[in-house]
């Protein structure tokens, strides 16, 4: 027989003590917050940045590359290493003595490329580690979720690799900023090159990953290719969890299409492209033309995964290490000498985002998110690798040149997998902030939130 020591009175007493204990820290933080005015105001000699990237799961390699770039950025901010893009950045506010004289520390979180896990890790970094901003990530689903959280918490979110129109479209937030390009820009840059290389009379078949990014990319590419005379034969949604695409590829053979557009990313893209090549699509002659495959969003890591299969396949990128400008050379040298490989385009975006945030704090003279927002809005800069860039005030989207790239025919080394076909000028990929694909007139940033 078991004997219980619990009495009603005892339980009540313990409950009251425990309740007070739980409430106590909130009382203190509430007081300190109201005194300071914004979430996680740095009080000591250090300031903490939060790097939220996929460290496990299928995008772990991508996340690891982002992390390397962010660590490099912190080094440069603290005056270590060769300074990288601090030497080429047109804004000269950063001096290599941290941010506003405070040494930069960082904490990392694992998004696992899952929205709920990413929100949880961002929340921990904000509430427990006192992170003043959240940077990075490699999925639009995750970016939209974390951006919402940062808006509520009153910290700045600097998005990493997110390509869906929604991130700075219908889901845009005042505390969120995107340096990476988006699906609309890919389509606007690709369409003229496709018309020039493949002709204006083509029949396209789309395979599309069934989530926010896939939908907006398909919508963008269909609109821009149809505008130049292409016909869309079919657009099939494929489940994100698909691994073998052969049953989706087989119908392409009999559809009368002569171009296959793969709105896939990561493992999806590697597998669908491999399957398409296996089925001999690239050797076929349809409607009297060579069959072609287009992968609108490329990354170096995917290109490496797809191996031989990407030869000659067209796509677009936010940045490529072969880009020859002062900022790009400085970044590639710094990253390459430290890590022994060239940076990926998601690494470059995350590096640039850390520097842009730090610079905005310096120029604003405060870490207050609303001051940072003001400093970043309408900010024009150069020297971070992409050429002349504008952070547009209306939707917090960066506008800069977009690269159209092609899988290299004869790579000379393992990093030389992609070649730049064209650098599309920013003007050609610019759209009005109330564009229907970006939420129309209803889309709004809302008010900046300083939290606390």
């Amino acid at each position: 027989m078991s004997k219980s020591n619990f009495t009603r009175r005892g339980v009540l007493k313990t409950g009251a003590v425990a309740g007070a204990g739980v409430a106590l820290p909130t009382i203190f933080t509430a007081q300190s917050a109201s005194a300071s005015g914004y979430t996680n105001e740095p009080t000591g000699s250090n300031v903490t940045l939060g790097f939220n990237v996929p460290q496990t799961g299928p995008y772990a390699d991508e996340g690891n590359d982002e992390l390397l770039a962010q660590q490099l950025a912190v080094e440069h901010l603290n005056g270590m290493g060769d300074g990288g893009c601090l030497n080429t950045f047109t804004s000269k506010a950063l001096k290599g003595n941290g941010i506003l004289g405070k040494k930069v520390d960082f904490v990392t979180g694992d998004t696992q490329t899952k929205s709920d896990a990413a929100r949880a890790s961002a929340k921990t970094m904000i509430e427990k580690d006192g992170a003043i901003m959240i940077n990075g990530g490699s999925s639009s689903g995750v970016a939209v979720a974390v951006q919402g959280l940062c808006q509520e918490a009153g910290v700045i979110f600097m998005a990493g690799l997110t390509h869906s129109n929604d991130t700075t479209g219908k889901d845009r937030k005042a505390n969120g900023f995107r340096h990476f390009f988006n699906a609309y820009m890919s389509a606007a840059a690709l369409a003229p090159v496709l018309a020039k290389e493949l002709g204006a009379d083509r029949r396209a078949y789309h395979l599309t990953a069934d989530y926010t990014w896939g939908w907006t990319q398909e919508e963008s590419i269909v609109a821009s290719t149809e505008a130049m005379g292409w016909e869309t034969v079919n657009a099939v949604k494929t489940p994100l969890a698909s691994t073998d695409f052969s049953s989706y590829i087989a119908p392409v053979l009999n559809s009368g299409a002569d171009v296959l557009v793969l709105n896939h990313y990561g493992g999806n893209m590697v597998n669908s492209l491999t399957n398409a090549v296996q089925f001999g699509l690239l050797d076929k002659l349809v409607n009297g033309k060579d069959f072609k495959i287009v992968v609108p969003l490329y990354s170096e890591l995917m290109a490496a995964g797809a191996g031989e299969n990407i030869k000659g396949v067209l796509g677009s990128m936010n940045y490529n290490w072969q880009l020859d400008n002062e900022g790009s050379r400085a970044f590639v040298k710094s990253f390459g000498e430290k890590y022994g490989k060239p940076p990926s385009n998601s690494a470059q975006t995350c590096y640039a985002q850390v520097l842009l945030y730090a610079d905005a704090c310096e120029r604003a003279g405060t870490f207050n998110p609303c001051g940072v927002v003001e400093a970043l809005e309408g900010f024009e800069f150069d020297g971070l690798g992409n050429g002349s860039t504008l952070y547009r005030a209306e939707d917090h989207q960066c506008f800069k040149d977009v690269l159209v790239v092609r899988g290299a025919q004869n790579p000379t080394n393992q990093y030389d997998t992609l070649e730049i076909v064209e650098v599309t000028p920013a003007a050609q990929v610019t759209y009005p902030p109330n564009h229907p694909m970006f939420g129309g007139d209803e889309a709004s940033l809302g008010e900046c939130n300083k939290g606390a």
Binding site: S247, A250, T274, G280, A304, Y415
Partner: protein
Amino acid sequence: MDAILLQILNGLDKGSAYALIALGLTLIFGTLGVVNFAHGALFMLGAFCAVTLSKLLQLSFVTIDATKKDFLGNPLKVETPYVEAWFGPEIGASIIDWAVPLSILLAIPVMIAVGLIMERGLIKHFYKREHADQILVTFGLAIVLQEVIKYYFGANPIQTPPPDALTGVANLGAWFGFDLPYPIWRIVYFSFAALVIFGVFAFLQFTTFGMVVRAGMADRETVGLLGINIDRRFTIMFAIAAAVAGLAGVMYAPINPPNYHMGMDFLVLSFVVVVVGGMGSLPGAVAAGFLLGILESFASTTWATTTIPGINQIIIYVVAIIVLLTRPRGLMGRKGVMED
């Protein structure tokens, strides 16, 4: 017509992988009574045997070519595989080219060893425990194996192409006067799977060892009373099942580039295959593997997905529900299995 044949071929192909994995699962369940959730990870390990061998064959020494520059502007380091240096460039290159078929020779001993270690080291301690415990421990093992592979090979898929002679497309319809292009390697995969399945059945049917195992599956106690060490034979069957999953993985590597979580993608479906085929029935597992592969393939056609949206993602489970409602023991299930 050719579109239908193409989807049947696709289905046979995917069905081969399901059938091989399900065959191993059923063998393990039928002999040892263990529900092995690490079986998908064994499939993945097989694929990584192919990756490992092709990486080993490409191990290179570095020479500096001062006439070319790398991405930092330093002299380019040129890598030459040892195999090419030892056997001459041509023979060396063709050895590297045939890495995947050669991996079969590596995978069989490796997978048998992995199977033996798994069974003796971990799973034998769970025979007397509940199925839930067995599922938890094997699922945990699967996660450990995945993470080990990720640690060494990264999270990205790794291209493991088939030999040049077996890439490309064969027009199967040419003999019958219509157009039916199909990748050669997928035909190889299907034929290979058929061979392995035939081999396992022949082994069980025509050897004394196989006969004892079949007797043990039917009545373990009686076989034990006859003085036969049935446990040892069952351990060997576990290793064989591991090897079958591994072989399925090796040959699958060129179809989709292997990554560390590919096993999980196949595991759940393979269990459905076992249940539909009938727990403990080897022919049932094979037949259900091919059947579900073909059904899944047809459900992914544009016609099917526009008629019933999402059918491609649920078809297998719908079939499983129907089969379990109408034939609770599965298509070829025997009485008394998992019914105590």
